[in-house]
């Protein structure tokens, strides 16, 4: 059974029918990517899974348990952590404070301290800047902070929304290296939403192609990368 199972989910923004029956699964230890054009519903899918949008129909199951009706904070407690688009760094709070808020749902002080060390090991640059305000970090550092903050909650599934957005190419590469390493070394399960389809399919095990609120294609990342339709529409070759 898949760890995260989204089944026939419909979501609305007011009158706009943004998701028209999206289904996808993420297995434990997998990186699954969701690619598609602007407005295809990628971010909406993530926001629906994390409870920021209540689906009008369909189910979201985590380890078999339906979490679609839960409030966002309760979904975090279940183990789904959303790193939002645009990073959502608390600009006026320090790196340390940002990370400590990431661990908000946890109360095991020793475990939190250990995870803080692990985050600093993964992102040494954050350690150098731990007393600096989040807003003063560079774009790449902010993205690292956002991911680190997500990890502090010890998620069962990490939802990453456009981690490469607005970053210089060299930093994009670094971020994807980090994502691959988190998955390979720590076994973190990741659902990745990306505009940069090529890079996303490079790190992911499987992928889904979303088009105007509907899943058009799905399959192993390697297959998608070779699919002529995907190549033409998203890989821009």
């Amino acid at each position: 059974m898949a760890l995260l199972e989204v089944h026939d989910v419909h979501s609305h923004y007011g009158n706009i029918h943004a998701l028209k029956g999206v289904s996808l699964t993420v297995d434990e230890g997998e990186i699954v990517t969701l690619i598609g054009a602007n407005g295809a519903g990628k971010s909406t899918t993530l926001r629906t899974i994390s409870g920021l949008i209540r689906p009008s129909a369909g189910s979201v199951r985590l380890g078999g348990r339906d979490i679609a009706a839960l409030k966002p904070h309760a979904i975090v407690a279940e183990g789904v952590v959303h790193v939002p688009e645009g990073r959502g760094i608390f600009a006026r709070l320090t790196v340390d404070e940002n990370l400590s808020i990431g661990a908000f749902i946890r109360s095991d002080a020793a475990g939190i301290a250990a995870d803080l060390e692990r985050v600093f090991e993964s992102f040494p640059r954050l350690k150098e800047r731990r007393r600096q305000a989040g807003g003063t970090l560079s774009g790449g550092e902010q993205q690292m902070l956002a991911i680190g903050r997500g990890l502090m909650a010890r998620p069962r599934v990490l939802l990453l929304d456009e981690p490469s957005m607005g970053l210089a190419p060299i930093l994009v590469e670094e971020i994807f290296t980090i994502i691959r390493r988190l998955n390979a070394e720590e076994g973190t399960t990741i659902l990745l939403v990306e505009q940069n389809a090529l890079a996303a399919l490079d790190v992911a095990h499987r992928g889904y192609v979303l088009e105007t609120g509907v899943v058009r294609l799905s399959g192993p990342a390697g297959d998608l990368k070779r699919d002529p339709a995907v190549i033409e529409a998203y890989l821009g070759v």
């Binding site: 994390s50 409870g51 920021l52 409030k71 966002p72 904070h73 309760a74 975090v76 407690a77 952590v81 959303h82 790193v83 939002p84 959502g88 608390f90 600009a91 006026r92 709070l93 320090t94 404070e97 400590s100 808020i101 990431g102 908000f104 749902i105 007393r131 600096q132 305000a133 807003g135 003063t136 903050r149 909650a153």
Partner: protein
């Protein structure tokens, strides 16, 4: 020459501003206050003549600030000329007004300046006429200050502020000295009549400036030495400091006397409310403009429960026994609970609102409570516009020794009795109640700030969506801020009722909410010491300058505008605000403050190196 044009233009504006201040009556109202005076012999008798009055000081500040704003980082000789020209232009404007003002209407055509501007009195022209030399001098001072090293500049500013403050408040200083039995002869060199002497002003200026300079010079060294000491020593030092401050606060009413204790009590009520609103606005970032509602609820609950005239006292329980009024201490928790419930109830409908929308809804809520208290409908219970009367004084258990007991008909050496917070020294006694309330509130606020809830509020303030995505329960976190904030205000209201004996709906108007918000902004959003400083500045100071009460709101406006332009982070900013507004100062102060792991030796050596550098 083109360099000089802006100065001339600025000078005309400064002159216009000063004339405007005169026409709205401010200068005339201030003209009774003298900052510095000198003795002159007139008719063989020495009389105190004002050397610097408050209107003059105000004009000086306007001219000084105007020129400072124009100066380049490194002023040249031409800028000095320009500055003097700016001052001269301003003087010319005021002089022209003094010349032409009285002439208006003298032609007998029936028009008089005073018909439009009631403050255009002969006294005003006299006050304005005295500005001739001040303005160019202030302008020149602004140029001179630009050449001074920043540390010296800060010291000079501190000294000047001290002289202005003590000078303006010198009658209060005199009252306090008299109250404490200091013979006037012994302070005559410092204070004469209602202002400072030249010697007094010079001493005060020099003393404060020197202290400020030394403080800035040696603070880093002291900090580093302190950081090098073991944690236990630092803890004891801090405890000692707290104990010393405690002793000073306990002794305060004794030296302050009745009137000044009353002022402090007023400040205390606002500190309590400020600490509460600071949780809602400063910590959780929710703009609440109806905060006075909880103050009113606290006061009215206290009144209804304790006044022998309230409907509750007359009511009877089913058995036929009258309910009767209850005591303060029994009513106090009820007041707080009522405020908490009201805070939660207000919170529920506004959960999904942010920013401006939230502000408008809370504004309405504040007015609803006041209108309800005023309404005919609730008149049988709350007294309508007549309010609630005869709210009894607070009674506290107190110890009496020997004669004190005998006077109460008890023949034991030590007895407990109920001391009423009442009588001619009511303000002094009430001070301790408010002090206790403020200490408890400040402690709670301080602990909350560093708690899990504090962090949740912080996250909420920064970004609601992300906060939710971090697992923070929006509903609970928001309601908790509203409820705790309301509790502090309810406590303040509960003390306010017996303080005033009678309470009326009009005591709980929108202005109180605005007042509290303003003191938080001036003190520094989210900063607990900021609330205290803000309350002293925006509640205490106007209370001491009673004769300018008319201009209170006017001054508020000016203070807020100036603060937002020049020091938006507030007087004692919280660290988060500082980080946002002064990112360049953010050279990781935490590292310097944390104790050196290499032991005390290196830290002291580093401090020594710093001192030599």
């Amino acid at each position: 020459m083109a360099v000089l044009t802006p100065y001339g233009r600025r000078g005309l504006i400064v002159g216009g501003v000063i004339v405007f201040l005169g026409l709205v009556g401010l200068l005339e109202a201030f003209s009774t206050r003298s900052i510095i005076n000198v003795l002159r012999t007139a008719g063989g008798k020495p009389v105190a003549v004002t050397l610097l009055s408050l209107p003059e000081l105000l004009a000086l500040i306007v001219a000084f600030v105007a020129v400072r704003g124009l100066l380049p980082a490194r002023p040249r000789a031409l800028d000095a000329f320009g500055a003097v020209g700016c001052g001269a232009a301003a003087s010319a404007v005021t002089a022209a007004f003094v010349r032409l003002g009285p002439a208006l209407g003298a032609g007998g055509d029936g028009f008089e300046l005073r018909d439009v501007f009631i403050h255009a009195t002969p006294e005003l022209f006299e006050v304005l006429g005295s500005f001739a030399w001040h303005l160019p001098l202030a302008a020149l001072a602004a140029v001179a200050v630009a050449f001074v090293r920043p540390d010296v500049r800060r010291a000079v500013t501190a000294g000047a502020i001290a002289v202005a403050l003590v000078g303006v408040l010198s009658d209060h200083v005199t009252i306090l000295l008299d109250h404490n039995g200091v013979p006037r002869a012994s302070t005559a060199w410092f204070l004469r009549g209602k202002s400072l002497t030249v010697a007094g002003a010079a001493t005060l200026f020099g003393g404060v400036a020197a202290l400020r300079w030394l403080g800035e010079r040696f603070r880093p060294v002291a900090d580093r030495r302190l950081a090098a000491r073991p944690a236990r020593d630092r803890r004891w030092l801090r405890r000692g400091g707290i104990a010393l401050a405690g002793v000073a606060l306990i002794a305060l009413p004794r030296f302050a006397g009745s009137y000044h204790s009353e002022v402090l009590n007023q400040v205390g009520l606002f500190v309590l409310m400020g600490l509460g609103l600071n949780i809602v606005v400063g910590f959780a970032g929710m703009l609440d403009l109806g905060y006075v509602a909880f103050f009113a609820l606290g006061a009215y609950t206290m009144g209804v429960l304790t006044s022998p005239e309230s409907f509750l006292a007359a009511a009877t329980v089913p058995g036929g026994q009258p309910v009767g009024p209850v005591g303060f201490w029994l009513a106090l928790p009820v007041c707080i609970v009522v405020a908490v419930i009201a805070g939660t109830l207000l919170g529920v409908p506004v959960l999904s609102l942010r920013g401006d929308y939230l502000a408008i809804v809370t504004l309405g809520f504040g007015e609803i409570i006041r209108v309800l208290a005023l309404s005919e409908w609730l008149k049988p219970f709350l007294g309508g516009s007549l309010g609630l009367k005869r709210i009894p004084p607070i009674k506290v258990p107190w110890l009496a020794i020997g004669d004190g007991c005998a006077a109460r008909g008890i023949d034991v050496p030590l007895c407990v009795y109920r001391l009423a917070i009442d009588g001619p020294d009511k303000p002094q006694k009430l001070f301790y109640i408010l002090l206790a309330g403020c200490v408890v509130a400040a402690f709670v606020a301080l602990r909350l700030k560093d708690s899990r809830h504090g962090r949740a509020w912080m996250a909420l303030r920064e970004d609601e969506d992300v906060a939710q995505a971090m697992g923070i329960d929006l509903v609970r976190t928001k309601l908790m801020a509203f409820a705790i904030g309301a509790a502090f205000s309810g406590l303040s209201g509960a003390i306010f009722a017996p303080k005033l004996v009678s309470i009326f709906p009009h005591s709980f108007n929108l202005l109180i909410s605005i007042n509290i918000l303003a003191l938080i902004i001036v003190g520094g959003m989210g900063s607990i010491p900021g609330v205290i400083v803000g309350a002293l500045a925006l509640v205490g100071l106007p209370e001491l300058l009673r004769e300018f009460a008319e201009y209170r709101l006017w001054a508020y406006g000016i203070v807020l505008v100036v603060m937002m332009l020049y020091r938006p982070e507030g007087m004692i900013p919280s660290t988060a605000t500082l980080r946002e507004l002064r990112p360049d100062d953010d050279a990781s102060p935490g590292d310097a403050a944390s104790p050196s792991p290499a032991g005390p030796g290196t830290a002291v050596a580093a401090a020594g190196a710093e001192a030599r550098a």
